[in-house]
């Protein structure tokens, strides 16, 4: 197997820069929901020492001193630019697995006659020109190696220029490169595993690659054995078809401010159901179960803590927002406890099936809601999400996200398209 991992550099910041050239060369951060933490940083912001996940209120002094620009997350923009970027990347391979909003794997089997390094530069040029997003490309014999090669390309290690192909390195060069990379940079090795591996004397990629997979399997898990095999070029994780429908759909958010009353929680949960159900219909599925969860903030140990989830099976699988909302509210009332400051709620649609194989239930006559849902999706597609919604979602939405520094939705709202002046 040969596979490429293409990843947008500082993706959210890069999206913001497409439509605001004044952000070029400046330190920029994009903040998480409710303007909480830095979730994307320009290279200039990284150089100033802004760490991933750093809370904004702790950065204020640094920001003032160096003129750091902080922006709220503009998800409508990022999703649209991501869609464009993925469509351009799909031109470069018949097999694409979209892995996250800003990265995808491309199958490279049969591309042996291409100069992959040059092909990678071509990818970078086209994505850059067409969408404005700078990307890096990593090639490897496995997904884990491609991820690692992308990391090398992004950091500019080993003299790479945005593209890194492990296949073209000699075994010796690769070993010495792997000896310089911390084990925590490997796909699937999180902070906790990094700590455990380092304690065992396995601190670098090379050390893990040479470790005994059978021994580590006993000590850790079968996943660790797989990681070692992948580092040695034995592919254990295939490319997943990008078009395969999701098995679960999650919609959850942190609240703008803590919420303690049931009515506000019900509104929030209803609106998450609406988002998830729209996605469900888009992929042509129906859900058999709805899970609802609520929790207080784990970072406020000074407040009473509570977290609970409940799963509600539906009488018959459905994609009807109103039916799913009713189930979710029923569940919410069962897990809700008064006297807590809730910080987050969410909804997960589970046991998904293709809508075409929907069965009629002899004893339960479902309302024919297809027409209503189609109208709802169309209206919300034209005038924006939430234009037509169930009354359960509420009118005022005091629990909504704080996004004080959000840029316009340049590509998804007619009223917000960029204005371009013709100078005299």
């Amino acid at each position: 197997m040969s596979v490429a991992l293409v990843d947008g550099n500082n993706f959210y910041v890069s999206c913001e820069r497409i439509f605001d050239p004044t952000l070029e060369q400046r330190p920029v951060v994009v903040l998480s929901n409710n303007d909480g933490c830095a979730v994307s940083r320009s290279n200039e912001a990284k150089a100033l020492g802004v760490r991933m996940g750093a809370p904004w209120f702790q950065m204020r002094d640094l920001a003032r001193k160096h003129g750091i620009v902080a922006l709220s997350s503009n998800y409508a923009l990022y999703a649209d630019i991501s869609r464009r970027m993925m469509a351009v990347l799909a031109q470069f391979s018949p097999n694409q697995e979209i892995y996250s909003i800003d990265e995808c794997f491309l199958g490279m089997d049969g591309f042996g006659r291409h100069d992959l390094a040059e092909y990678g530069q071509q990818i970078r040029r086209r994505v850059g020109q067409w969408t404005g997003i700078p990307v890096c490309v990593g090639y490897g014999a496995t997904k884990t190696l491609a991820k690692l090669a992308n990391h090398v390309a992004k950091k500019g290690l080993a003299g790479t220029d945005g593209v890194c192909d492990f296949g073209r390195m000699s075994a010796g060069d690769r070993s010495s490169l792997f000896s310089q990379i911390a084990v925590g940079e490997i796909w699937g090795v999180g902070p906790q595993l990094t700590q455990q591996l380092t304690a065992r004397g396995i601190g670098t990629v090379e050390a893990l690659r040479r470790a005994d997979p059978k021994v580590l399997r006993r000590e850790f898990s079968v996943t660790m054995e797989r990681i070692i095999a992948e580092l040695n070029g034995d592919s254990c994780v295939d490319l997943e078809d990008a078009t395969s429908a999701k098995q679960q759909i999650l919609s959850s958010r942190s609240f703008g401010q803590y919420v303690s009353d049931l009515a506000s929680l019900e509104e929030a949960v209803a609106s998450y159901v609406a988002i998830a159900a729209a996605k469900l219909r888009q992929q042509g599925s129906i859900a058999g179960r709805v899970q609802v969860f609520i929790r207080t903030s784990p970072f406020r140990q000074d407040l009473p803590q509570y977290a609970q989830a409940v799963t509600i099976p539906l009488p018959t699988p459905s994609d009807d927002t109103l039916l799913l909302t009713r189930a979710a509210r029923w569940g919410l009332r069962r897990i809700y406890r008064a006297g807590y400051e809730y910080q987050k709620a969410g909804v997960m649609l589970m046991n998904l099936l293709p809508a075409e194989i929907r069965q009629q239930d002899m004893f339960y006559v479902a309302r024919n809601s297809d027409a209503l849902m189609t109208v709802m999706d169309r209206i919300n597609g034209i005038w924006g999400r939430g234009t037509l919604r169930s009354a359960a979602e509420g009118i005022t939405r005091a629990w909504g996200m704080k996004r004080k520094r959000m840029s316009p939705r340049w590509t998804t709202r007619w009223a917000e398209v960029p204005r371009v002046r013709c100078l005299p």
């Binding site: 050239p21 070029e24 067409w130 809508a355 960029p418 371009v420 002046r421 013709c422 100078l423």
Partner: protein, 135 residues
């Protein structure tokens, strides 16, 4: 085997309407309705819309308030109207190659033209393909 078909309308199993009249003789000849997207957009992934303010491009048929269809994938050629970035701001100009460098023209009069020397960096953001003007 896949049972999923995207974008197909879904009908309830038991209540699909059964047409009873004379079948339309035109059904074998139906074609897709004309699409403006298809007409105006060459590279969907690379096409963006912007709104014009100002009157200086009237000579090129671009008026105040027009909607421009901008294609970033289209290679910029001489004498093409483009969205350029000058001093961190977007502007609509015609690019002209001249012996001294590149001239960004507003319109025929020469007023407001900008000469970009070889040392200066000119960023062409995208090529303007259409101006949509309300009559």
């Amino acid at each position: 085997m896949s049972f999923r078909h995207r974008n197909l309308p879904r009908y309830p199993l038991l209540s699909a309407p059964v047409p009873a009249g004379f079948p339309s003789p035109a059904t074998d000849f139906t074609e897709e309705s004309l699409s403006l997207d298809e007409h105006l957009i060459e590279h969907e992934e690379a096409t963006f819309f912007v709104r014009v303010t100002g009157h200086s491009m009237t000579g090129f048929g671009i008026h105040d308030g027009d909607l421009l269809v901008v294609d970033r994938a289209h290679p910029p050629a001489d004498r093409q109207v483009v969205i350029a970035v000058i001093d961190g701001a977007f502007t609509v100009k015609q690019v002209c190659r001249i012996p001294d460098g590149v001239l960004l023209r507003s319109h025929g009069s020469g007023k407001g033209d900008i000469l970009v020397s070889d040392e200066q960096e000119l960023a062409v953001w995208g090529v303007v393909r259409w101006a949509i003007h309300r009559v």
